[in-house]
Symmetry: C2
Subunit: 226 residues, 2 copies
């Protein structure tokens, strides 16, 4: 069981979900220190990384960014390869969107655990959700719990991975952000797959976000403040 | 169960163990295609990567190399940080040598699985050994089998990780190489932690290698041919 005095590392992408997780962690680990970690993996929309920096500063927590040049070398996915368009429909393989990087969250979490290793941090927090529309297999609870076991064995530590949004719908994630007093900071987050600010409103990420706010009966501050 | 017509990807570091694994895979997957993958993670001894290229060419298999800039950014380990000396004694933490990169093999194998994903490769081969003197927790059988499960869940595939040296001593690894007709190619491998060629003979890696050859009653061709 996590102790509130423990330290935690939040994987902060600059998006709505990971920002909600940051405020969840600040609340949950209120006797410990919360820090954030982003990954610069060559994402097309550099604005995500800038958002993460601003959000961490607003929340008053430390922020680091690790480079990952390997995804681009693996090649061929739409989030890193600017020659490939992002389509709302599914990609050619496995029924997954063409934004899929196989095992991306496995890599992110393993690096986060390695980052935590010498820093007296035993808790990782990630904004994955099984309820997400995308069907990414590395967002599922079974995957995350299996990875936690693997990292514990592979690093000989007792790291715990928290995924507070795992079973929350987008509506419930918005409700959580409101309950945590984190609605206003959502104006600083980035969601749009097309990198637009104000958001395009038509890509699947924008549509999912809009649906969550609408169902929660809240106005998205990104739409009014950006 | 692996089918001999399946394709396999061998993680080839350019060392004795992974080279033995390459020849094991060529024998085991004799109806399929064997390819090799190295990682350029900023290791101090670039000679390892050159060895891997030459060994793959000698074996007549395809070879790729993926860059990993993240380990250097994580910092502070002796294999990537040229400011830190490699000592034969153990490092300050966890009873592990100071060459330890937490979870390094988890990262390598996850990237290898992502590389294999679009290439019709369902088998990964890695030269880790539980019997290794180093006590790296990411070399243990429980870790590797847990990672196999995690990757299967996280990538929704049926990848199998083979670690043919897992329970072999260095002596038995040398005997396996001899049985596979891979003794001569050992002249092309690199082991020395100090990056010397001919090897320094005094670092723990050189000493372990020498012990294996001595116990197998074989001459190390690296010593006579380099």
């Amino acid at each position: 069981m996590p102790a509130s005095k423990d330290n935690a590392l939040v994987l902060l992408s600059g998006g709505q979900d990971s920002t909600t997780c940051l405020y969840w962690a600040i609340d949950y680990f209120d006797g410990g220190t919360v820090a954030t970690l982003a990954f610069d993996y060559g994402q097309r929309h550099r604005i995500e990384l800038e958002c993460a920096v601003k959000i961490a500063a607003t929340a008053g927590v430390a922020h680091d960014c690790l480079p990952i040049d390997t995804f681009a070398a693996l090649g061929g996915d739409a989030l890193t390869d600017s020659a490939i368009d992002v389509h709302a429909d599914l990609g050619p393989n496995s029924g997954l969107p063409n934004t899929f990087v196989p095992g991306r969250n496995l890599i992110f979490l393993t690096y986060a655990a390695a980052f935590a290793y010498p820093r007296d941090i035993r808790h990782l927090v990630i904004g994955v959700a099984q309820t997400d529309y995308s069907g990414y297999p590395d967002c599922r609870e079974h995957t995350i719990s299996s990875l936690q076991k693997t990292i514990r064995l592979g690093m000989d530590n007792d790291i715990t991975i928290h995924a507070p949004l795992m079973h929350r719908s987008k509506k419930e994630t918005v409700e959580l952000a409101i309950a945590l007093g984190a609605l206003d900071v959502m104006a600083m987050t980035h969601t749009c797959y097309n990198g637009k600010r104000p958001p395009c409103g038509t890509c699947p990420a924008c549509q999912l976000r809009a649906k969550g706010f609408a169902e929660a009966g809240a106005e998205d501050p990104l739409l009014t403040n950006s």
